[in-house]
């Protein structure tokens, strides 16, 4: 019995020593949390790697408003490859750089066109510290500039970027999704794009630039093909099934009267493959319920069926045109970011198996796609329709 207690005591003592974590301990003060990472083409070398490491506030500064110290250490080094550039940055870091909290990865436009994103994705997927929830962005211009720009509504730029994406409507697109698309034969990679734009500084020493979400980047076999304007970001949301919160703005039913805008309350897009003339064709159906937020059309109260139907028609037409334009653009760019190939594979597996190697490059780009849209106005804010024109104007025939 005594021996048993003794052995238990020894075991507990040994385990206590081991569980204390002293073997490979890292003090919090010795860690530098990398929150953002940017990759550009170097000026002298192949790769320019920039890291964004928040500065820990000293007790004095945290209590006194931060002083003049920059909120983060933005450090860049150039080398032949990613790993060597990172090694050079480590030479300048007084803290051990860890990537467990990495939030954003920014890839410069020129780098993505010249070198492709394959190597970067491999590095990100291989590193055990980097989580698959990291958000990748393509930067129109130099990626380093984005990290160097002071954010407007958040303290740290990486949180500012993720905040913009979430506030925009929650279009979640993370490293995991990029890797799934990259591995797939039926999808091509896309990423949201950001860029640095000038702003009017409120104070003489205030920041003169800010960062904005600027559209969508489409890739073909790791290489950047085309960068689309912000409207394409909204169309991607339609295809990914999360268009809620986006705005549709269309010309009024009567030409020259201005435009009408509506906010999407619910939206759904269905891609229906079908067999047509011995080949696959698609019909894209998008339906939405919307809330009219403004109108220059002077059509009167939206509660009237006739008025509402006219507005619904112009909004649906606008949505259809955007979807058609997007599909034309991605076919021209030989990309398939929304997975038309996957729909074909699921609907016609035998056919797809035969065409697997030709699908993306030869078949998809010539595949007919028909788009049908339906918009239902269920709300006009807190009123029954725009407050102008007035009843008198309506009677006098000023309204259409």
């Amino acid at each position: 019995m005594r021996r048993r207690w003794l052995s238990l005591l020894l075991l507990l003592l040994f385990t206590t020593v081991m569980l204390s974590g002293c073997w490979s301990r890292i003090e919090l003060n010795d860690i530098g949390l990398v929150l953002g990472l940017a990759v550009d083409v170097g000026e002298q070398e192949e790769v320019r790697l920039t890291l964004y490491v928040p500065r820990p506030l000293t007790q004095h500064l945290s209590g006194g408003g931060g002083g003049n110290q920059e909120p983060a250490w933005v450090v860049a080094r150039e080398a032949d490859n990613f790993a060597d550039a990172l090694a050079l940055i480590r030479l300048a870091s007084a803290r051990r750089l860890v990537f467990h909290h990495l939030r954003v990865v920014l890839i410069g436009e020129e780098y993505a066109r010249r070198h492709g994103i394959g190597d970067i994705l491999d590095v990100l997927a291989t590193n055990n510290e980097i989580r698959l929830t990291v958000r990748p962005f393509l930067v129109e211009g130099r990626a380093q500039e984005v990290l160097e720009t002071l954010p407007q509504l958040r303290t740290l730029q990486p949180f500012n970027l993720t905040g913009i994406v979430q506030a925009k409507g929650g279009l979640e697109w993370r490293l995991k999704d990029v890797l799934v698309a990259r591995m797939s034969d039926t999808h091509s990679v896309w990423m949201p794009t950001v860029k640095v734009i000038p702003r009017q500084a409120a104070k003489p020493l205030g920041p003169t630039t800010t960062v904005t979400l600027s559209g969508v980047a489409l890739f073909r076999r790791d290489f950047l093909q085309v960068v689309l304007d912000p409207w394409a970001y909204q169309v991607m949301a339609w295809f990914l099934g999360r268009p809620t919160g986006f705005t549709i703005t269309a010309d009024c039913p009567t030409a020259g009267k201005g435009t009408v805008s509506a906010r999407v309350l619910t939206g759904k897009t269905r891609v229906r493959p079908r067999w047509q003339d011995d080949k696959v064709a698609f019909r894209v159906e998008a339906i939405a319920t919307v809330n009219v937020t403004r109108s220059e059309c002077g059509t009167g109260a939206v509660k009237e069926d006739e008025v509402r139907q006219k507005l619904e028609q112009v909004l649906a037409d606008d949505l259809r045109r955007r979807l058609e334009l997007f599909i034309t653009v991605i076919q021209d760019a030989v990309t398939d970011p929304v997975g038309f190939g996957k729909h074909a594979q699921l609907a016609f597996p035998r056919y797809y198996k035969m065409m697997e190697d030709k699908w993306g490059e030869e078949v998809w780009i010539n595949t007919p796609v028909e788009v049908a849209t339906r918009v239902t106005i269920t709300q006009a804010g807190t009123v029954t329709g725009p407050v102008h024109p007035t009843e008198r104007e309506m009677r006098e025939g000023k309204a259409q």
């Binding site: 929830t133 995991k176 699921l346």
Partner: protein, 371 residues
């Protein structure tokens, strides 16, 4: 353990809990990648297929054991024919369990050093696990079973809640057509997973501790089939969340599936808690293999004081685990046909020898009493 080993009885639930944990924990972390690589999205079917093999092995041992009083075929053979008749069985069974014990230690030390404590030498983790395993084995089968039960309950909770948390990750655009890689892929995956499923042979060491009042077939079915159905469900969740291609390249897709879960901006990184559960489970798995290796070896050799033999076998496992190499070497070996044949040969060799021994023992004894 010692002389009291057989006198301690465990309930059907505890027996099934040991089987579920032993058949689930290591497999969950290591098998999905290789199954998805071969069978694609239908890896869950592979899991069901190998579950049938696991049941066949388990039921065969239970059937033989139930021919004898105390459900102890080795004891019966030893008494009826002589100790020498059990030597080949105990040798193969003991060596097999020592190998699986060492490999499990290696798998845990690789996993922890890759993902959790990269700066701690791998052998230290292995030594700690082995030390705890030796202690638990020394305490006997009941602590093993009760700890396994403690791991199983939260595991069931995770299995019930996880699909809800993963709904945002699932998309029809990550799904392949049914049997896209063909049934040949499913069979190839099953071939690679056969050695894992054969580990249900540890029933041989557990069944003599099972309460005689409970139906051993029922609880073996619950334990073995339950673990494989759970594995199939997890593999399906992995392929629905990541598609079938990406997880076939990831080292630990089961870990990544937990790591991707983010219920809100502040409720994320739940994998830390679940990995703690997994480490407990792996400790039980390691302990069960050590227990099986020590118990059958000791019984065959007539060793009554088992503490030192437990220490020796436990230490041998740690040393063997250090000779395997890295995780890539381990995976490379596990794909070789000779490796598969060695495992399956050892498992069915034990079952067949046990069957022959039992038949001869029954003839010597005359009609025995069925348990």
């Amino acid at each position: 353990m010692g002389g009291e080993a057989v006198s301690i009885r465990i309930s059907g639930g505890l027996y099934a809990a040991v089987l579920v944990v032993t058949e689930f924990i290591m497999q969950y972390m290591l098998l999905p990648r290789v199954l998805l690589e071969n069978a694609g999205q239908e890896a869950w079917m592979t899991m069901i297929l190998v579950g049938v093999h696991a049941l066949a092995v388990g039921f065969a041992v239970v059937w033989i054991a139930c021919r004898f009083p105390d459900r102890d075929p080795l004891k019966a053979i030893r008494c009826a024919i002589g100790p020498w008749a059990t030597y080949p069985i105990a040798l193969i069974y003991g060596a097999f369990n020592l190998l699986v014990y060492a490999l499990s230690l290696h798998d845990v030390q690789t996993f922890t050093s890759v993902l959790i404590v990269p700066d701690t030498p791998a052998w230290v983790l292995s030594a700690i696990m082995a030390l705890l395993a030796v202690y638990i084995v020394h305490q006997g089968v009941e602590p093993i079973a009760r700890t396994a039960y403690g791991v199983l309950m939260p595991l069931i909770l995770v299995l019930l809640i996880l699909p809800v948390a993963l709904v945002p990750e699932m998309s029809v655009l990550q799904v392949d057509p049914f049997l896209w890689k063909g049934f040949a892929g499913v069979l190839k995956g099953a071939w690679i997973a056969l050695p894992w499923s054969g580990q249900s042979i540890i029933v041989l060491s557990l069944i003599r501790h099972l309460s005689p009042k409970v139906n051993p077939y029922k609880w073996t079915l619950v334990g073995v089939a339950g673990s494989h159905v759970a594995l199939a469900a997890f593999v399906l969740l992995i392929s629905l969340s990541f598609g079938s291609l990406l997880p076939s390249r990831l080292l630990y897709p089961g870990y990544e599936m937990f790591a991707i879960v983010a219920l809100t901006e502040s409720i994320e990184r739940i994998q830390a808690g679940i990995m703690l559960l997994w480490l407990f489970g792996s400790l039980i798995t390691i302990t069960v293999y050590l227990f099986a290796a020590v118990e059958e070896g000791s019984l065959a050799l007539g060793v009554r004081r088992r503490f030192w033999i437990t220490v020796i076998v436990g230490t041998a496992g740690v040393l063997i685990a250090q000779t395997v190499g890295g995780g890539l070497q381990r995976r490379s070996v596990a794909r070789q046909n000779w490796w598969m044949l060695l495992h399956i040969g050892a498992i069915w060799g034990v079952v067949i020898l046990l069957g022959i021994g039992a038949l001869l023992a029954r003839r010597r004894q005359g009609a025995g009493t069925n348990a």
